[in-house]
Symmetry: C2
Subunit: 221 residues, 2 copies
């Protein structure tokens, strides 16, 4: 297929949803904006023929995703091999509950990105350092400059996998309620209830006597 315009990720059967195609988007900027608004992804891989989905932290750096792992974890072992680990990485933001007058038309507003590809363990020390910094920054922008950087020993004890963004699509629903004409006069409340993650009151550690940093005033990831 050659209907992939410049500035877009690959548009093919794998990256095209079978339902609600009109909610799909392959535009790089749209995909990146959704990825940049989160810090938690769900990593899917196949083990012994069966699917496994695990939550983990991530960062986007240019056209790649870096996922936090552990040197002892199952997917990391596989990603260390030359052939890499086939993965699907999904990021979802639940943006609102859409309450229609009929149960049938209830829905949610959301933004999601689904990225397919092969993940590899990051072995270059510089890239590893960059990736770990990015994972901290993705969750708390401004934090890397305000904590002790990792030592060589700590870097060696941390594992990160990289997925090049290529087979990627975004999907989203925005807007209001779609009720059937016959239901419009029913006496139920209908509308959208926005949902978003929010920070609670920070709890300083007993050994912390620094002022609360200003970067914690940003939006929650």
């Amino acid at each position: 297929m050659s209907d992939t315009p410049a500035g877009s990720y690959t548009r093919n059967a794998r990256t095209t949803p079978t339902r609600d195609k009109d909610r799909a988007d392959w535009d790089r900027d749209a995909v990146h904006a959704i990825l940049d608004a989160g810090c938690l992804c769900h990593l899917g891989f196949v083990r012994d023929g069966a699917p496994v989905v695990l939550p983990t932290l991530y960062a986007r750096v240019g056209g790649a995703l870096y996922l936090h792992g552990s040197t002892g974890s199952r997917p990391l072992h596989a990603a260390r091999e030359e052939q890499g680990l086939p993965v699907c990485v999904t990021v979802t933001h639940l943006d609102g509950l859409v309450l229609a007058k009929s149960a049938f038309h209830h829905s949610v507003n959301y933004r999601s990105v689904v990225a397919h590809g092969t993940a590899y363990q990051v072995t270059d020390p510089e890239e590893l350092r960059t990736a770990l910094d990015a994972i901290v920054e993705q969750a708390v922008p401004g934090r890397v400059a305000d904590c002790r950087p990792p030592s060589a020993k700590e870097l060696a004890a941390t594992a990160v996998i990289r997925l090049e963004l290529d087979q990627v699509s975004a999907k989203s629903r925005t807007g209001g309620v779609n009720d059937d004409p016959d239901d419009l006069g029913l006496p139920y409340w209908a509308g959208v209830v926005p949902v978003a993650p929010a920070y609670g009151e920070p709890v300083a550690a007993p050994h912390s006597d620094a002022e609360l940093p200003g970067y914690l005033a940003g939006p929650a990831c």
Copy 2:
């Protein structure tokens, strides 16, 4: 293995994480509490040998999960077959950002459940109705009694898959910062920033003139 106590889900190699085993829990009540606190899951399955992870809405009813689908969607086609669809369903709550004095000890507080098994499409009309009601109630408790129930035609146009909970485990991190003794005196802020989903101001649809329902005052899912 026979180390699965009563009131617990199956404890075996598949349901035991390779890392941070002390954070794992197979207790039914603990697993159910985590599932009941959410409404969005990530459904993993295998297509053409590769993993796919898609977000969708779910409900727990007793010892089963019901996942919302579409009659045209890919996983639903497979779950319709007699042999069912091998899946992994994961629910994750991000509860807090754990900011340590070292980048290395940064972490997150979270609760997650990972459920493995075979999913089947719900074909019994009564079970389908119960499942759809539960999916609405999981997101907005109290809503089913305050909207128009689905017609026979609407039920036929909706698909739900069922996963019996059996190969299931929970994992969580709670508590404060674990800093190295040498880092305790560093001049950076350290502590936990709680994170939780929150409702914004509801936006009534133009065709809605009912009072805002009281059940929208509950915690966001």
